[in-house]
Amino acid sequence: MHRPDKLFIVAATEASMAVRSKAFIIGMMLMPVLMGVSIGFQRLWQNQSDLQERRFAVVDETGVIYSSLAAAAADWNASVAPKDGGPATGPRMVPELASGDQAARRALVDRATRRELKAFVEIPAGIARGDPAARVRYYSHVATDNTLPRWIENTLNRAVLNERFRASGVDRAEVMRLTRLVSLARLDLPSWDDRGVQREAAAVDQMRTLGVPMAIMTMLLFVVISSAPGLMNSVLEEKLSRTNEVMLGAVSPFEFMGGKLLGTTTVSLMVAAVYLTGAFFVARNWGYADVITPSLIVSFVIYALLGELLFGSIFISIGAACSDLKDTQTMMMPAMIVVMMPLFVWVNILRAPTSRLTTVMSLIPTATPFVMLPLTTISAVPVWQQAAGITLTALTTVLFVWAAGRIFRVGLLMQGKSATFGQMLRWVKAG
């Protein structure tokens, strides 16, 4: 008879040791803090840099474009200027006309070097005629600034097109109307209320259809990957430090393994809860709070639990079967490939959520936790499919934990050479 109380004592101690470890503290506390600081710093920096005046020179060989550019800059500056006592909303654009001879060009380079100019632009004459060889040249010492070149490019495009239409005598507005592309509005299926009135179908939201399932799968993968290999290392460390035999004097191998598995699973679910809470606030900030429903949270916990127990038992077996770190890395590779498998076919799943491939993937026990839940957020997954996925995964988890118990019992005391997969199978059979 196994003693569940011992299993829980081991689990509680494992969890307690884990939450006091540097890895956990960094993962739980420091990472969100660092991310927050990083985002805040980025925003602050972005505002600061964007408000810097962009002074640039224009060498206009067309003789007609600069005036449009200067007018566009004036409009832009008026639009970003501080209003009602608030701050400016963008940088001022300050173009100045320059000569294109060698001496003037040298002077522009000197001014750019002295940081008096952000850049200077050369507009060749052929650009107004649509000469395919003609290219606008943008010179700058700040290669990473995209704001100014993007503004110049957009503004120039408008000005040059206007000039070309004016020169050819064609009505631009008419051409634009005739060449306007057909747009396709992607909508959800329409529905009707109780009175038979059709409701307005909502537009398909790319973030909702792609971002949300991807985020859920990533979080589930993170929960498993952040803890299961750690379990393997912990077992190996106990083997190498001979702590295992001391423990086996007090608990059975199954109680020991079960406790470790349960403790680690508890910690990973704590991590998941923290990140899920964070995800909720992020989702709410972007207007997607309705995505995180109670049923999604319950399903997330169930799949995270199954995934953690299933892969935890695989990794714990590897740790017990190996006798050095190098061997664990080698044996871990196939297991990691199995964990990552859903990621490899994720694009196909998104494109065809009701295809045979997706259905099969959702029913492979090692992939179910990572495929089924995200799938439910993008299509109506039949109940039988969800039930079959959970049942198969649960049964496989029980089988894996049982097999891991047998491997753990034999492997834990084995020193020297690491076991092969064949030997591990024999241990499972022999018991």
């Binding site: 008879m1 001979r242 001391v246 004097g249 007090a250 005391l413």
Partner: protein, 302 residues
């Protein structure tokens, strides 16, 4: 009531038979010494008693229960290869083992504090295990083994690697447990310790039981075939004597195993050199161990 009953137990690892048809009874409240050369099957036997390993054949009963798991809380174990969670603090670790052994929190705490004080470890109670010296860690390990107040304490090489002071502290602790009724089983390579501390001694060699009994019974089986002698010229004086089977030279004294008569040997020796000390004795446990386990020895019988 017997603490341990091993009946016809065999255990193999691959092609190697570690324990071969072993039968052994350890009475309750006794001190039983397990001796044998490295790789003879001692640790495997201890692990089977603890149910860490399962026998291929035969049966092991602890306090009459063949499912040792059920009686695990009555057994304390100090393994030969020692390891503790290095990141845990000493007191927390010992309390953890106390809880695993079914002791309530306050009970385990009081016990741990008492034994930490006894081993002068109180100042280290809130430090991490990794900061302890080897001697301290070994004492901590013994507390971990006894924190459940076991009825049976199994110690695998408990005194190895300890300095004499720490070895003495541990020995006193073990004897105190023995006096309080705990059955002590320990394996050792130190024959002197086994002779002095054990009520009964069991020797395993190549997986088979070759000795089992009190020291007196074991020595009696070998008879008075040993003399301890100090003579002028030392071991050289014993060279090529027909009565001498073998000589164990300790420098200042020689232990001689005789193949013939002790009185005839004495007269032959006296004719060769002045004899300063002569004692007819039974062989020491060390001598018996060497006779059995040395290469080419006939270990089957005394």
């Amino acid at each position: 009531m017997n603490a341990i009953e091993i009946r016809g137990v065999s255990k193999s690892f691959g092609d190697t038979r570690a324990v071969d048809d072993l039968t052994l009874t350890v009475p309750a409240a006794s001190t039983y010494g397990f001796i044998g050369p490295n790789g003879s099957g001692k640790t495997t036997t201890l692990r089977m008693i603890l149910n860490i390993l399962l026998p291929d054949r035969g049966e092991v009963a602890v306090f009459g229960d063949t499912s040792t798991r059920a009686s695990r809380d009555r057994v304390g174990y100090l393994p030969e290869e020692r390891g503790l969670y290095k990141q845990m603090k000493l007191r927390s670790l010992l309390q953890y083992f106390g809880r695993l052994k079914g002791r309530s929190g306050p009970e385990a705490n009081a016990f741990v504090d008492r034994w930490l004080a006894r081993f002068d470890l109180t100042p280290w109670a809130d430090r991490r295990i990794e900061t302890l010296s080897k001697g301290m860690a070994q004492k901590a390990q013994l507390i971990a083994a006894i924190v459940g107040r076991p009825d049976l304490l199994i110690l695998d090489e408990p005194f190895s690697g300890l300095d004499p002071v720490n070895a003495e502290v541990l020995k006193d602790a073990v004897l105190e447990l023995r006096r309080s009724g705990t059955t002590i089983v320990f394996s050792t390579h130190d024959m002197g310790t086994a002779e002095k501390m054990c009520d009964r001694i069991f020797m395993i060699f190549k997986g088979r039981k070759v000795l089992d009994g009190t020291l007196d019974e074991i020595q009696s089986a070998y008879g008075f075939d040993t003399v301890r002698v100090r003579a002028g010229g030392g071991a050289a004086a014993l060279a090529a004597m027909p009565e001498v089977e073998s000589v164990n030279d300790y420098g200042q004294m020689q232990e001689v195993r005789l193949r013939g008569d002790a009185q005839r040997f004495l007269s032959q020796l006296a004719a060769r050199a002045p004899v300063q000390y002569f004692e007819i004795a039974r062989p020491s446990l060390h001598d018996i161990f060497v006779r059995i386990a040395s290469p080419g020895a006939d270990h089957a019988s005394p």
